[in-house]
Subunit: 119 residues, 2 copies
């Protein structure tokens, strides 16, 4: 049986979770505590712990941009999660598909992704 | 100009960096401080800060499994990096291509990736 307590959490009780689409796009990184891990697995709705709000954050609950869990993966050190997700619309609060929309090129920073139309 | 000091580091002066292959495979997550970010960009050799050794860690320096930087990306909150890398052989110290080789399936944990042959 998978036990959320078997993961390694940081001093704040949190573990980073990378969200990736089945097509391979890294969408975002956010944080979970053990209860958020359990809720994500139990409900299939990817649930983070919001460090700014200090509360559970069911992704998409207010924005409508849900993340449905396809599979949760655990790394070798058990201190990072990779969640493969079916992402509705943009993952980023800027309405971009991914939060990683800036690239360092030629010593400067450039935007490589535009906000999604109608998102 | 891109300035490593413009990123948001945690209380330990670190920022998580997700390493991904150009084909889309998430290989690992490790940590950088501002100087590791600068060294990575300056040398093209992906350089982390080892929290266990409390020292710089040029990926592959001892294992030979180098990571050559293809592109560094910055997320919306500037508190996570995504590095697209050319990974020589396995990224994981277990000789697996990726550190995320365990999946939670049917309530249990299964290995979904074997160590690389000859790695």
């Amino acid at each position: 049986m998978f036990d959320a307590e078997s993961l390694t959490y940081d001093a704040n009780g949190l573990i980073p979770a990378i969200a990736q689409s089945p097509e391979g796009e890294v969408l975002m990184l956010a944080w979970m505590n053990a209860e958020a891990v359990r809720r994500t697995l139990a409900t299939g709705k990817v649930t983070y712990w919001s460090r700014s709000r200090q509360d559970y954050w069911v992704k998409g609950e207010t924005s409508g941009h849900h993340q449905r869990l396809i599979e949760m993966r655990v790394d070798c050190d058990r201190d990072t999660l990779l969640v493969i997700v079916d992402q509705a619309g943009p993952a980023c609060h800027t309405n971009r598909r991914s939060c990683f929309y800036r690239a360092v090129r030629d010593g400067g920073e450039v935007e490589i992704m535009s906000p999604m139309a109608g998102a």
